[in-house]
Amino acid sequence: MRPTPLAANRTRREALKGLTALGAAALFGRMSGADAGAGEVLTRAIPSSGERIPVVGLGSWKTFNVGGDPAARGECTEVMRRFFGLGGRMIDSSPMYGSSQEVIGHGWAQLGRPGVLFSAEKVWTSGREGAAQMEATRRRWGVERFDLMQVHNLQDWEQHRPRLFEMKAAGRLRYVGITTSHGRRTADMEKIMRAHPLDFVQVTCNVLDRELEQRLLPLAQDRGIAVIINRPFREGSLIDAMNRHPLPAWAAECDAANWAQFLLKFIVAHPAVTCAIPATGNPAHMVENMGAAFGRLPDEAMRRRMIAHVGSL
């Protein structure tokens, strides 16, 4: 079902309600003013539907794979609570990510299954086993249907393709996508993007890995395909490296209060990008990340300045 403007407002209201439940004062009391939450969350339209989603989502690679550890599950639930509370919607996972799906399902249930969730999943098996895997995944999340189902790393794409488009036509999922990471198989991805009516692609891109800006991102724009950016911090190594240096004062010109926001705002400022999905199991980092979805975004000149600055460090 495509959301109406009213639905979008309701989404925001639900998010604010979530904030109340969280105890907004307690949450914002721990944040600096620019960390998150000032003004409306920035959104981008999914080209195939016009539905708007926040420019920052939540990945779960490694960070939500905590098995049965009750303390770690509690932290992941807290991450989700803050994420929804700050207007976040898209959570992305995969059968490859160990217990992440169960942990997301656990957290979502603990939070009372907030309707703002935009569930993004993947199928990561042979075409023959795809239906069973997607059903198992759905049960782990506890959702009625997924918003987005992506073929993980193009695994057996040709076999999954007809089933996914049938499911979309039957209303059993809303969007179809494909994924890669670390710049793998981009030539294959481009072929598929030219040949099929995809709703989403998911790729790796960050201030240092920008090869996709040359061809794939413009192609996505031309074809009207939404783009999700994974691993925006190079699995943490980029932000670890940046944290050894002071944030430049001019970062304030795009309302970036920390390196996480600097790096995320660089990504989501690209006009082809729909959202970035940094993964974290740390509630404080989640708040920092979500801060990138508020305030101003860098223009092209500032993006070039960001590239030069990071390259010089």
């Binding site: 490694k62 794979n65 905590v66 098995g67 049965g68 550890d69 160990g98 199991g281």
Partner: protein, 233 residues
Amino acid sequence: MPEWGTYSPSDFPMFSDRTYHRLFELLNRATWPAQITTLAAGVALLVLLRRTDERSGRIASGLLAAAWLVVAWAYFWEKYATIHWAGRHIAVLFTGQALWLGWVGVVRGRIVFAANEGIVARIGIGLAAFAVLAYPLLARLFGRPWAQTEVFGLAPDPTVAATLGVVLAALQVRWSLLVVPILWSVFSGLTLWTMKSPDAWVLPLLAVAGIVMAGVRQLRSGGSEYSRARAGD
């Protein structure tokens, strides 16, 4: 099946280092006070390694096989499989190693120790002693809490290290008993290395030392009449 050629080693530790080390805390909590039993079994193993009679070899093999079984069940099946889809496959592999140890060492009595005869046997005993007595200290040494200590007979790395020691301490090298320990040493080392764990080198280094020493033993005495007679070949 996934197209494995499109993946790199960094794709496979699908968990953070924090989650990985927390797993040992959860294992220790779930199995306490089994640590006392496995530690006692480890000390008994060290005593048996210094005895040259066939019965001691059988008992040591039985203790070691039991340790592999416990690791397969308590760690891989119950804990590791919750964060890695390969966990149950590895549990099967460790169970296979336990059964093979039981067959070679207990049923056929083909593991007889050389006591302190030669440098290789002494290194084997030293390696086993390190696995049983020193491995539990490593977590603390590398800045992790005591609760995350890795104990012989429950955690895979010290159990594998002890097995390397037992194979070296035997009169004749049983290469078939080294296959799974070496595979796990590579896997464990890669896992810790990709997580930037400072102790990633420990088990691979022990495995390399074990292979080199096993080769030395093979060259020096593998073909001697004495070894063949004592080992039952």
